[in-house]
Amino acid sequence: MNIKLKIWRQKNQNSKGHFEEYSMTGIEEHMSFLEVLDLLNEQLFAEGKEPVAFDSDCREGICGQCGVVINGQAHGPIRSTTCQLHMRHLAEDPSFKDGSTITIEPWRSTGFPVLKDLIVDRSALDRIVQAGGYISVNTGAAPEAHSVPVQKDKADAAFEAAACIGCGACVAACPNASAMLFTGAKISHLGLLPQGQPERLARVVNMLNQHDAEGFGGCTNIGECAAVCPKSVPLEVITRLNRDLGHALWKGQKTTA
């Protein structure tokens, strides 16, 4: 197939960006979306132009490093990471024809400044985790693993939330640029387990404070985040976050240092 790519180009964080269009021929259905970008870069190289910078690493859908907005949707038309999107998935769309234009933009959010072309800075998500997204246990100080049984359905629900890969699609998709799905996923993962109980209320307060300080918006239950999440983190993690927050405020939980 032949396609046109309309791609956001931006030299660095301080310069203004713009769209540029490129034509490509001979694209095969089994190619992954990022392999098309690789091929475009070879083409640009041959033309003496600078390749498009984009992030990817594992290309197996798990590291969370890749991620762009494709035709207005975070990670593109199917629920997957960008690296696991294949041209066959785009071609399945009835409006997709030979010569169609595909628009590619970086994650859109003030919390994620553009570093170059399609690459953004997502370190804000790490700072939310730093604020309390962990269970405080020192190495070597752990009790025997079987000393704390975990109810299977709780463990499964915790796993579902823990599947978050921190790609940031939820933020990019949210009209409020909220990172509540990301934050709620961590709060749910740890809050569902017996090990996570001692810090549960402090965790939610600390992480949310950091979330807000990073400039992410509030949640108004739009649900775009869960709809695009490549790991199907359920929207109810936000409900759980809110419940824990209410509980924390009622208990007069203060932030901890």
Partner: protein, 666 residues
């Protein structure tokens, strides 16, 4: 003293690892070593600086644990977040000798399986310790909230993995690596918050600083701004993973590279067993010319999936569902009745290649290019079939065990594995070779520690499934935090390095020169184009099967390709900005040199062991044939200088607790 052998390398002095206390039985050595090591008192720890390069299971765990102890830690990684290290992609599980299944497991059995699985090319002391601390890892991770699979009684579930006959593998669906890494990452971020660890994201280590024979720091390039900086410390830990990307196509992440360990090698650290490459049997076959990487599927699939090819080559293009049972060759079950589909990785991989070489491969015929660039059409795939398991367990039970893997397979290939058997083929996955370390995980450069896949120590010539995660976490959580104290206690007395030492400026200058030289290239070919060409040479001649003449051919071709690179490559963009072409070029230069060393190592080891299969050395049944009389040693290579042959140091492998046997899984 040294003799030039084969025109390729020099024979150097023998070496030995002397840190494990051999005056006590193997089960007491680690305890004894910990007791003998010097400690640093808590108030003094904050005066000591440690650099950790890499944030995967080994690096993340080490940085977090050293931070908890109170050292000043700086952690560097090339990704945008510590949570993205490639350990995250490990799917299957982590072994531990907990014997929760009451099926006869023990520390000794895990030790035995690992040594045997590695084809008797691993060091007993290290492997025993690995088995010993494996149980602590599970405790640690559960306490961190890692959501391992549970049974209805609330206790942890287990499954079994290739190469063993007990259920000792702990898992979190098909995402065990991710969940363990997130555990280490959370511990690390906790320390960032506590101020003991400082993270340097999107920073690449491009040189090691050695002053007066000790590792004293690193030179980094900030991948966003291009800024080159020096960072000094009292000790340096490299946890930078494997170098499988030397083959271009592999299951490694795009950014995995050998630069950190290669720079250390060029500064004097020995590189051990570079030719030991694990080819993983359950990868999704290559689908076309533009493929950038290969995708692994968890080996746990082999627990319930049956591997087969048609008995007759003419059936290969048929719909597999139409091939009756009697026309299928379940070749692993046929050749290895005791282990069947759960034979170790090296054996499963080589047999898959044999079936395809015989013309019984399945799937679309794809264009293959050999190392000379000649094209041929081959079917590279074998079936991994779940129809029997679906019939026995039901679709829901299969989905509960492997659902996410099936989904991933379908997304990539477009085929539904519930309906049609999966197709798999081996791919480069893990490198058992790495920098030489002693029992303390210290390289031969004092103060330079190496952990996880970046070192060579625990897996011998082949790694058993679910052991990589175990080693990364054992090294990071439990070994380094104890062994490094001993060195750091000395450094407290030694004092800080003089920031004006000429070696520091010289290390930095060499990096700047290299960047300048690369940016000056004005050729016509891209870096990726050269990398692909290198990968083809390596896969053809130093891949699943190696031969004397092929390896010699490869060495010549690698040298020619490297020259061609300097003549005809071009790097786009500028040095002082985010420049992915420049990043790749620097890594490729190191891969060129490493590739040559891998071939020399493979050439000199005229035996087959584990992942290193020399066609000239096989049993009449076609199994790997070791020569313990000649090759019972670790090959530790020393950099001989620019355009000079490397120097081979042998460390004898001494087996006192395990009897050497020809490996058999029949």
């Amino acid at each position: 003293m040294t003799e030039l052998i084969d025109g390729l390398y020099l024979q150097g002095e023998k070496i030995a690892d002397t840190k494990a206390p051999h005056d006590v039985p193997i089960a007491q050595r680690w305890e004894q070593r910990k007791f003998n090591a010097n400690l640093v008192n808590p108030a003094n720890r904050r005066k000591l600086d440690v650099i950790v390069v890499g944030s995967g299971l080994a690096g993340g765990a080490a940085a977090a644990s050293l931070g908890e102890q109170g050292y000043n830690v700086k952690c560097f990684f090339y990704q945008d977040s510590a949570r993205r290290a490639h350990s995250i992609a490990a799917q299957g599980g982590i072994n531990a000798a907990k014997n929760y299944r009451n099926d006869g497991d023990s520390v000794y059995r895990l030790f035995y399986d690992t040594v045997k699985g590695g084809d008797y090319r691993a060091r007993e002391d290290n492997v025993y310790r690995l088995a010993e601390v494996s149980a602590n890892i599970i405790d640690q991770c559960v306490a961190q909230g890692v959501p391992f699979a549970r049974e209805y009684g609330g206790l942890l579930d287990n499954r079994s993995f290739g190469g063993v006959q007990v259920s000792r593998t702990f898992y979190a669906r098909g995402q065990t690596g991710q969940q363990l890494l997130i555990g280490a990452y959370q511990a690390l971020e906790r320390q960032v918050h506590a101020g003991t660890v400082k993270e340097y994201r999107r920073h690449e280590m491009v040189e090691l600083i050695v002053v007066d024979g000790r590792a004293r720091g690193i030179v980094t390039r900030d991948m966003v701004t291009g800024k080159i900086d020096t960072h000094l410390a009292d000790a340096v830990v490299l946890c930078t993973g494997g170098y499988g990307n030397v083959f271009f196509l592999s299951t490694n992440a795009m950014g995995c590279n050998a630069t950190a360990i290669w720079r250390a090698y060029r500064k004097g650290a020995y590189f051990a067993n570079p030719c030991y490459t694990q080819i993983h049997p359950t990868c999704i076959p290559q689908s076309g010319d533009f493929q950038s990487k290969l995708t692994l599927m968890s080996e746990s699939l082999r627990n319930d999936g049956r591997i087969w090819v048609p008995k007759r080559a003419e059936d290969c293009d048929k719909d597999p569902r139409e091939i009756p049972e009697e026309d299928r060759d379940y070749y692993l079950e046929r050749i290895y009745p005791a282990f069947g589909n759960l034979v170790p990785r090296d054996i499963a991989s080589r047999q898959a290649k044999n079936m395809c070489d015989e013309g019984r491969g399945v799937g679309p015929a794809i264009k293959e290019r050999d190392a000379q660039g000649n094209e041929r059409m081959m079917r590279r795939g074998v079936y991994l079939d779940f129809s029997e398991a679906i019939g026995r367990l039901g679709r829901d039970a299969v989905s509960a065990r492997y659902g996410n893997l099936f989904e991933m397979y379908q997304r990539i290939t477009g085929d539904d594995p519930y309906e049609v058997p999966m197709r798999i083929y081996p791919a480069v996955h893990y490198t058992m070779g790495g920098l030489w370390v002693d029992y303390d995980l210290e390289s031969n450069i004092p103060g330079l520690y190496v952990a996880g896949e970046a070192n060579f120590s625990d897996h011998g010539a082949n790694r058993l499934g679910a052991s990589a995660l175990m080693q990364g976490l054992a090294d990071g959580y439990f070994v380094l935090p104890d062994t490094m104290n001993d060195y750091l206690a000395d450094m407290l007395r030694e004092g800080k390095v003089d920031p004006d030492a000429p070696e520091i400026a010289e290390a930095r200058r060499s990096v700047e020169d290299r960047v300048e030289r690369l940016m000056a290239l004005r050729g016509t070919r891209s870096v990726d184009d050269f990398h692909m060409a290198l990968g083809r040479i390596m896969w053809e001649y130093c891949g699943m099967e190696r031969r004397d003449e092929g390896l010699r051919e490869a060495i010549g071709q690698i040298r020619a390709l490297k020259e061609e690179f300097w003549r005809d490559a071009r790097i786009t963009g500028e040095a002082m900005e985010l420049n992915q072409a420049l990043e790749k070029a620097g890594r490729l230069l190191d891969f060129f040199e490493l590739a040559e060393l891998m071939c020399i190592d493979a050439l000199h080891r005229r035996e087959s062991c584990g992942g290193h299969f020399r066609a000239e050395s096989q049993t009449p049944e076609g199994e790997a044939l070791r020569h313990d009389d000649e090759f019972l040693y670790v090959a530790a290579w020393e950099w001989g200088g620019e355009n000079q042959p490397p120097i081979l140091h042998k460390e004898d492998l001494i087996y006192k607790d395990i009897e050497l046997k020809q490996r058999s899984y029949k």
